[in-house]
């Protein structure tokens, strides 16, 4: 019996002590017409060897590909120590640190994580993480509406240059509470500052901006921040935390810094894994801490005055406040935060900066190579580690042809940005070698030569 340790003697003795003859009697309180003999349509159980073999076969079918897709999830090299340590049973199979004395490992680790995230983002406090970048953005919008008491507005300004699925997820979550996201248009790959200026007289709880934007370009974050504060709005910064080793941190944007930063933690040591589990990070200025959703760990002392760690500010949370909580969230993505904290410790500030810079250099190399091909052009000159290239024909068939050659050529922008024409978002992280980049160039040339311009 997989994972069940009972012997026949155990079962007999246990039933006798309970005072029943069979285990079936234990289910007598379930009305008889609701009881079933077993679930239908479940395949017979497999041994560990059999299920491993089946998984191997399935995985092999997914093929061996070289990916140049980013669009919010990035392939980076993950040091062996990261997941070797993170999957130690003491981290992997513990739960939320309700009993602080028996969870100092997890609690101290989260405190270290919070310290690293505040330093990366240049803000005062961090929570213990949220589900992913998109849901963290939604929570940041809810938080801004709660926190901006002067405004009282239930509208948030966002931008077409923000990840389109982040905006979609935020809409799913905000619309039920009557909170509205208003999209600013995109000009030249970034938020249209003229359109932003035209909104100056209107009341919004916050302005949100992604740096770098979804299209890989760099926003004028200082101007956007100052303008927002002048209009009585909070600023929500959505940033790739790895790139913050090289980019100006939200806490230093403009005169007084962004108020809330959030984003996708996946680049910090989390495998791509078809989209999750990842983690959303969130940091903010000290004055907003009581509006923050999610777990927060604080340092304190024990009865012998020794330093120790515990969950704190729990009066914000659902298990105390119930229907008046800041959020219904009770999870943090603890295991992913464990990996990210180990990753950041191994890389340090210098290592993260080198990776960020190499991503930029590799993407430049790729873009230079591709835009030298007939029928390919670069759309925006300024970008960090992703760039938009335009083809002289529809993108989808080209991507299919590349994929048959083992190359995933990028993210097709035609669904979310049809106005950009045949646009493709490409990304070459530090994990792509010079040979792989060269191979992409050669394949693109070959594919374009063999297919017709539509």
């Amino acid at each position: 019996m997989p994972f069940i340790p009972h012997t026949e003697e155990d079962v007999a003795a246990m039933l006798e002590l309970i005072g029943v003859k069979t285990t079936d009697e234990l289910f007598q309180e379930i009305p008889a017409n609701l009881r079933i003999a077993g679930p239908d349509g479940i395949p017979a159980g497999l041994t560990e060897a059999e299920v491993s073999q089946l998984a191997q076969q399935r995985a092999a079918g997914d093929g061996d590909v070289v990916s140049f897709i980013g669009a919010g999830a990035y392939e980076h090299y993950i040091p062996a120590a990261v997941w070797d340590l993170a999957t130690r049973g003491e981290f992997y199979s513990a739960y939320t640190p309700y009993q602080a004395e028996a969870s100092q490992g997890t609690l101290q680790l989260i405190y270290e994580y919070q310290s690293m995230m505040t330093s990366l983002t240049g803000l005062d406090v961090s929570n213990a993480s949220l589900y992913d970048g998109a849901s963290a953005y939604a929570e940041a919008c809810l938080m801004a509406v709660r926190a901006n008491r002067k405004s009282g507005s239930r509208r948030i300004l966002t931008t077409g240059a923000m990840h389109p699925v982040y905006r979609a997820v935020a809409n799913t979550i905000l619309s039920n509470q009557g909170i509205e996201l208003v999209d600013l248009p995109v000009a030249g790959g970034v938020t249209d500052l003229g359109a932003l200026a035209a909104m100056d007289g209107e009341d919004f709880a916050a302005v949100s901006v992604q740096q770098p934007g979804f299209l890989g370009t760099l926003e004028a974050v200082d101007d956007i921040t100052d303008r927002a504060h002048a209009a009585g709005r909070l600023v929500i910064a959505v940033c790739n935390p790895l790139l913050l080793a090289a980019l100006k941190p939200p806490g230093s944007w403009g005169e007084s810094g962004a108020d809330i930063a959030c984003g996708e933690g996946q680049p910090l040591g989390i495998p791509l894994s078809s989209g999750g589990p990842y983690f959303g990070y969130m940091t903010c200025s000290k004055s907003l801490v009581r509006q923050m959703p999610g777990r927060i760990v604080g340092r304190t002392v024990d009865v012998e005055d020794r330093p120790g760690f515990t969950l704190t500010l729990q009066a914000r949370e659902q298990h105390i406040r119930r229907s008046k909580a800041t959020s219904n969230i009770c999870t943090n993505q603890g295991l992913m935060v464990t990996a990210a904290t180990i990753y950041m410790s191994l890389l340090g500030s210098e290592g993260l900066r080198r990776i960020a810079a190499r991503c930029h250099a590799n993407t430049r190399q790729l873009v230079t190579l591709l835009s030298g091909i007939d029928g390919v052009s670069l759309l925006y000159d300024s970008y960090f580690h992703e760039a938009v290239i335009c083809l002289d024909r529809p993108v989808a068939p080209v991507l299919e042809a590349l994929s048959r050659r083992g190359i995933l050529g990028g993210y097709d922008l035609s669904e979310h940005y049809p106005e950009l024409g045949n646009a493709l978002l490409v990304c070459a992280t530090e994990a792509r070698s010079a040979q792989e980049i060269a191979a992409y160039g050669a394949c693109m040339q070959e594919v374009l030569a063999k297919t017709q311009v539509a």
Binding site: R35, L85, Y92, A94, A134, A246, L335, E400, Y411, E430
Partner: protein, 486 residues
């Protein structure tokens, strides 16, 4: 021994250089105003220091792999190692979420099978795998209920009924969905108060959120009546799957009349709790809610597995995650379910219930007071320590801390709030009878000590890396991040 912060090992210039590119590439082509002036303060440590530090931190945790962890309502069962190994196989771990379907047929095949197996154990018409935790599954469920009413022009249905024993996420979720919460009392025998339910039902009712077996650890015997009453009033029923382990393979929420259900894969299907997450709160829906299910869902077209998105499901409540939920967690659940098969699933509920009833019977024999002594335990049960507290002054939290000193993680304390001084105890099916006996011995020992020397119990814990922490100071003198100038 207390482990220093990783920052305290840091020395300027120390590095683990094999993990980053050897040289710093230039960023000179970028405008200076977007670049960072001062580097972030992260530790500068060697790889060995990192390995040692985090290994030592791990050793300061209680976990399923090291301790009996009978945390009620959390289903802390063994997490098979092979589930992790499969999810971390390079072909699965390296797959980009926007990779084309033809390079994801193996992964999608597993997800399709997982959806089918979850339909089979819940009796629902469709399953969507995207919610990333129980609370997000709850959100999806209530949002679907609202979408259904709005689509029927029922704009006034904004009330969600929740029993007073419910988990805090239920009312918090209803609020997040823009609904009003109405609490109804639980009767002394643990069932929902039907009269109270009748009195709150009406044209304003959107639905009811129930856990079954309930949060007090007993099966709701009137579930069919409840379903009929709520449906007659035009409301829908939401099943919180927190306690599915108790009935796995034996009864289907769909048969009980539920319209929507979330399942915590990190409970019933043994995916890791990871120190607080990631969870996975997949949702199942009845036929009438199918159009509203969150996307993407995995479908099958011409022998290929495909994503079904807003195009195929124009009435969906939308997306809840940037990509596809906690895909790697879903893979772990797939491995576990394929290993169990139908028989294995029946055994889960059989032995989880056997262990809970045995542990309850032994504790009652030893003189502890069960909150619902006339009822069968489900996979968990409640002990109330109120008499011991009155006699000795030793309270439930003291008991919990004293258990830590005896090598047991404490059960859930003070929840549900309607039972005074309570311990919610869930042993799970993967514990041996000998482990349960040892737990009973520890409980007896602590009670005896409480009677003879209550102050000694109040000193606990003594064997953990720290003793009781000053929570008031933690909240009043906020210290949430280390900084170098302290």
């Amino acid at each position: 021994m207390k482990e220093p912060l990783i920052f305290e090992y840091s020395r300027p210039g120390r590095r683990a250089p094999s993990h980053a590119p050897g040289a710093m590439a230039s960023l000179d082509d970028l405008p200076a105003e977007v670049l960072r002036a001062d580097p972030p303060v992260l530790p500068e440590v060697s790889e060995l220091q990192v390995v040692r530090h985090f290994t030592r931190l791990s050793q300061q945790n209680f976990s399923i792999d090291t301790h009996f962890y009978p945390l009620g309502s959390c289903t802390m069962k063994y997490n098979p190692r092979v589930c992790n190994r499969v999810a971390m196989m390079p072909a699965f771990a390296n797959r980009h979420p926007y990779g084309p379907e033809e390079h994801g047929q193996g992964f999608l095949h597993c997800m399709f099978e997982l959806q089918e197996m979850l339909k089979a154990v819940t009796g629902m018409a469709e399953v969507s795998l995207t919610p990333m935790a129980g609370a997000q599954g709850e959100f999806a469920g209530v949002a679907m209920i609202r979408a259904y009413h709005l689509a029927n022009g029922d704009t006034q249905r904004r009330q969600i009924i929740v029993p007073d024993a419910a988990h805090g996420t239920n009312p918090a979720t209803a609020t997040m969905c823009g609904c009003e919460v109405v609490e109804i009392p639980t009767r002394a025998d643990g069932d929902v108060d039907l009269e109270a339910l009748r009195s709150v039902l009406g044209p304003q009712t959107a639905g009811i959120m129930l856990t079954n077996p309930s949060t007090v650890g007993v099966f709701e015997r009137n579930i069919e009546t409840i379903a009929a009453l709520v449906h007659e009033a035009g409301g829908l029923l939401y099943y919180d799957g927190a306690n599915l382990n108790a009935i796995l393979g034996r009864a289907l929420p769909g048969d009980m009349g539920f319209d929507v259900i979330h399942i915590n894969l990190h409970k019933t299907f043994s995916t890791p709790h990871g120190g607080g997450g990631p969870g996975s709160g997949v949702v199942g829906v009845s036929q009438r809610l199918q159009p509203y299910a969150p996307v993407p869902v995995v479908g099958r077209k011409n022998d290929q597995y495909v994503w079904l998105t807003e195009k195929e499901r124009p009435q969906t409540i939308g997306r809840l995650s940037a990509f596809m939920g906690n895909a790697g967690i879903l893979l772990r659940a797939w491995v576990y379910m394929r290993m169990l098969g139908a028989e294995g699933m029946l055994r889960v509920s059989e032995y989880a219930t056997l262990n809970a009833n045995y542990l309850m019977a032994r504790l009652m024999q030893a003189g502890f007071q069960a909150a619902y002594p006339e009822r069968r335990a489900s996979h968990e049960f409640i002990i109330s320590l109120k008499d011991i507290v009155r006699q000795t002054g030793v309270n439930t939290m003291d008991f919990a801390k004293a258990l830590l000193d005896r090598g047991f993680h404490a059960p859930t304390t003070y929840f549900p709030t309607l039972v005074p001084e309570c311990l919610l105890i869930e042993p799970t099916e993967t514990e041996t009878r000998q482990e349960l006996d040892a737990f009973v011995d520890a409980m007896i020992e602590i009670r005896d000590l409480a009677l003879s020397d209550p102050q000694e119990v109040k000193r606990a814990p003594l064997s953990t890396p720290v003793r009781r922490l000053d929570d008031v100071r933690a909240a009043r003198q906020l210290d949430l991040a280390w900084s170098e100038n302290r």
